[in-house]
Symmetry: C2
């Protein structure tokens, strides 16, 4: 499903060169549920952005379902992203002055789903994250945790094959966070491949495999029984 080899990413900032990723090799099989951990600044979000076709690596190769990303044009990358991947950003990235329902419908604009079905699908995803009474609120009228749950619903609405979630429970209380992880577990049981960045051990325990980053390299890759 996801094959990463020799992945490097560096940013040039004036004279300073920041090496965010320094050679990452990892294979993720279809239907796996993987947690990504590591200290602040260790390269987790950079790794997810590369796998999620949101940014291009400096070196190395990523293939999704056998397709090498470096062979694709910008338009092809966008189409792979929209068809295959649901993304929950660390900073939510919701559209301002756009209500919850519309934010969740957004990925459907790029899909083949009939326009008539959009509102129904979006409403269903918002129900699954416990927000059926906030459909008409825009982000400034939602709490931090509610905004995060809108971002999670948006990542699910297009029935992606892969969900990449960057600290999806960071703004949620324990109970609400566990509810989201149970939802992810259900999606995973239906065959969706899941990668979740988290720094909370209770959240990582939902995954079958835990990757740990430090200074842009993988220092650990352990399999464990999901709880």
């Amino acid at each position: 499903m996801i094959k990463v080899s020799g992945l490097k990413k560096a940013y040039q900032l004036g004279e300073q060169k920041i090496r965010a990723l320094n050679g990452v090799d990892v294979d993720i099989a279809e239907g796996e549920f993987v947690a990504v951990m590591g200290s602040s600044g260790s390269g987790k979000s950079t790794f997810m952005n590369m796998v999620g076709c949101l940014d291009k690596p400096t070196q190395g190769e990523i293939s999704l379902e056998g397709e090498r990303l470096s062979d694709l044009s910008v338009e092809q990358l966008a189409s792979v992203r929209n068809q295959k991947i649901g993304f929950v950003f660390q900073q939510f990235n919701l559209l301002a002055r756009t209500n919850a329902l519309e934010n969740v419908m957004l990925p459907l604009f790029y899909s083949d789903v009939d326009k008539v079905e959009w509102a129904g699908r979006a409403k269903e995803c918002l129900e699954q994250v416990g927000l059926s009474d906030r459909l008409s609120h825009d982000p400034s009228q939602l709490s931090g945790g509610q905004q995060q749950r809108v971002a999670i619903a948006r990542a699910m609405v297009n029935s992606p094959r892969i969900i990449l979630a960057d600290e999806p429970t960071g703004a949620l209380d324990t109970e609400t966070g566990l509810g989201v992880m149970e939802l992810f577990q259900k999606l995973n049981a239906n065959g969706i491949t899941l990668m979740v960045v988290t720094h909370e051990p209770d959240i990582a325990a939902f995954a079958q495999r835990q990757l740990i980053f430090r200074d842009g390299v993988l220092i650990s890759d352990q399999r464990s029984k999901p709880s």
Copy 2:
């Protein structure tokens, strides 16, 4: 230091009326360290925004150091906020295309501190949160956790009497988060009054007192020995 009585806040959204706070009474003494907990949407951020002079209550009264906020004009509220309060927002609220040093200097624009001292003070605060090597990065060039630490440094730079921090470790790994809480403990030992919203018990354990919100009211107010 902070006296809150009969605090209510409601938002009118079309026909829907959202009651975010439904009557909160609490006194916080000078130099106290208080944790604020409760499920997603229970009113924590709304409470902090009211105490932080960022929004006006629908009903009820808040006094800071004996001064009733409802008696103050918009300009006076802004001056109270800038002189007395350091705020760490749940969504960081850093200025885009503005580097870390400048973001941290921002509160000093409204203070009496001599301009010559600004950069030095800001640099010192960024060192205290472990970011002395990221001074020239703007928010888009920082990781989530690094952005949050810039927001924490900004809340400290003006040597406020009160720090209100809304989930200040939400984007940080355990080790980095504990580092921030130790910094807060030091500030509290120097007499600063601290209120920290968190949903992580390890973080709440740093405080002497834990408030718990549910549906816009305080359901618990317990004192405990800080760890």
